[in-house]
């Protein structure tokens, strides 16, 4: 077949032809320059290719990627810290004793002025309350983000909050039950454990057992239950053992946990 026709058919298959070019193909078929039977067979075959199934990558794939990303970030941070530490060292090296004494006097004057004209305690408290609210809002928004890295960051922000309100707890429990990334869910358990005294958190953690599919998350939950001494989680784990075909090591882990909880 003419190479130009071969290119035309390839374009037809990829859906690259406009109306005019499609008419040209029809004309070539009508005149017999393109074999109609072969053309139809190729078209059908191209469609049928879409039906070949493909497995999904395992959850381990995401875990490995985010671990690698985290490692790289830490390395970058470490190299920045080193560079930042270099700056005061080099400045200090330039200072002579009289200059140091002058700097100390300036610091003392600054401290005295700050004490006289600085903010009152209530203003500072107000500011820190607003900061906390802002962090909480940021965390809840980031938990809805598309990237697992952002959601991980959000979970980490939650650990900086001194206390948690209902909205933050609700957002974290929602993440625990629905986030597609195992890594995010595991970190969420860690974050929620900090508020283990809160009844809503305790209930949420127990209710989450039945909703988890990943063995890593289930094992992490079992550890959390032991740490928080949540005895009412034992029946949930027993149900999991009865209803699901769990990995042998997970089964053993759950049996030990149940024995320790009861």
């Amino acid at each position: 077949m003419d190479k130009n026709y071969e290119q035309l058919i390839a374009d037809y298959l990829a859906g690259n032809l406009d109306k005019e070019q499609k008419v040209r193909v029809e004309e070539l078929i009508a005149s017999g320059e393109i074999d109609f039977v072969e053309f139809r067979e190729l078209e059908t075959l191209h469609e049928d290719l879409g039906a070949i199934p493909i497995p999904k990558p395992s959850e381990q794939q995401s875990i490995r990627f985010y671990e690698m990303l985290e490692e790289e970030k830490q390395q970058v941070r470490a190299s920045w810290t080193n560079r930042l530490l270099e700056i005061p060292r080099s400045i200090f090296a330039l200072l002579t004793m009289p200059r140091l004494a002058y700097a100390a006097v300036l610091l003392m004057i600054g401290g005295f002025a700050g004490a006289q004209f600085g903010s009152s305690d209530s203003e500072i408290e107000q500011l820190s309350r607003e900061m906390q609210q802002m962090k909480e809002m940021m965390m809840v928004n980031m938990l809805e983000g598309a990237s697992a890295a952002d959601r991980l960051k959000a979970v980490n922000i939650s650990t900086e909050l001194p206390g948690a309100d209902t909205e933050a707890i609700h957002a974290l429990l929602f993440t625990l039950n629905n986030d597609p990334s195992v890594n995010v869910r595991v970190q969420t358990i860690e974050a929620l454990k900090r508020w283990g005294d809160n009844e809503r958190v305790r209930q949420g953690l127990v209710q989450s057992i039945a909703k988890q599919q990943s063995p890593i998350v289930i094992v992490e939950l079992a550890d959390a239950m032991l740490e928080l001494e949540l005895k009412n989680s034992a029946p949930e784990f027993q149900r999991l053992l009865q209803e699901r075909e769990l990995d042998y090591t997970v089964q053993q882990k759950l049996q030990t946990s149940i024995a320790m909880l009861m």
């Binding site: 290119q7 075959l45 999904k56 690698m68 697992a148 890295a149």
Partner: protein, 188 residues
């Protein structure tokens, strides 16, 4: 440039915002896995290769120029990772073993197909496996990964016209293989 476009995200990664690689991972790890799986038929190898692509993105992030489509750059890295992997295996003498296993599996597959008068899907999958690697790759990149012929031409360092001709001929050969397997099954 849209701030969430692939290019913009990769530029941010280049400038130190490494978290943005997470977004690119979420967008591309499944298509990349699909490409590697269709090429190798091995789940574990495919996952290793996806990881290797993102490791290379991080390692060589400073070399990203932002020219051309991001997906073309990504798939050129993926192709290199795939080629490197099989070269390494060749050096370790694994290829022969794999090929023998594969041939054996193919023979078993053939018997299975004959016994079960297998359906169209199975025949097509088998025919695709039997296709020469480059031809299979062109079909995978165009049909499954949605790369334009122009992008595939960049990957192969050839002309768009040459890729179109190769695609046509690969499809034609695939059709012949399907017909041949189908015929063998009917006789069985």
């Amino acid at each position: 440039m849209n701030s969430n476009s692939d290019k913009a995200l990769m530029m941010k990664v280049k400038n130190g915002d490494l978290d943005k690689l997470g977004l690119l991972f979420e967008r591309y790890h499944r298509p990349l896995f699909g490409y590697f799986y269709r090429m190798s038929k091995e789940q574990e190898v495919s996952e290793d290769l996806v990881q290797s692509v993102f490791e290379r993105l991080l390692k060589y992030r400073q070399t990203y120029s932002g020219d051309g489509k991001f997906s073309t750059w990504l798939f050129s890295i993926a192709r290199n990772a795939h080629i490197d992997h099989y070269r390494k295996e060749q050096r370790n003498g694994v290829t022969l073993e794999i090929d023998e296993n594969r041939l054996e599996a193919e023979d078993n597959g053939q018997e299975l197909l004959v016994r079960n008068k297998a359906d169209k899907k199975e025949i097509l999958e088998k025919a695709l496996d039997l296709l020469e690697e480059e031809k299979r790759e062109i079909i995978i990149l165009s049909r499954y990964e949605g790369l334009k012929y122009k992008e595939i031409a960049e990957l192969y360092d050839t002309t768009e016209g040459a890729v179109k001709v190769k695609m046509f001929r690969a499809m034609k050969e695939l059709k012949n293989l399907v017909n041949q397997i189908d015929k063998d099954c009917s006789y069985g």
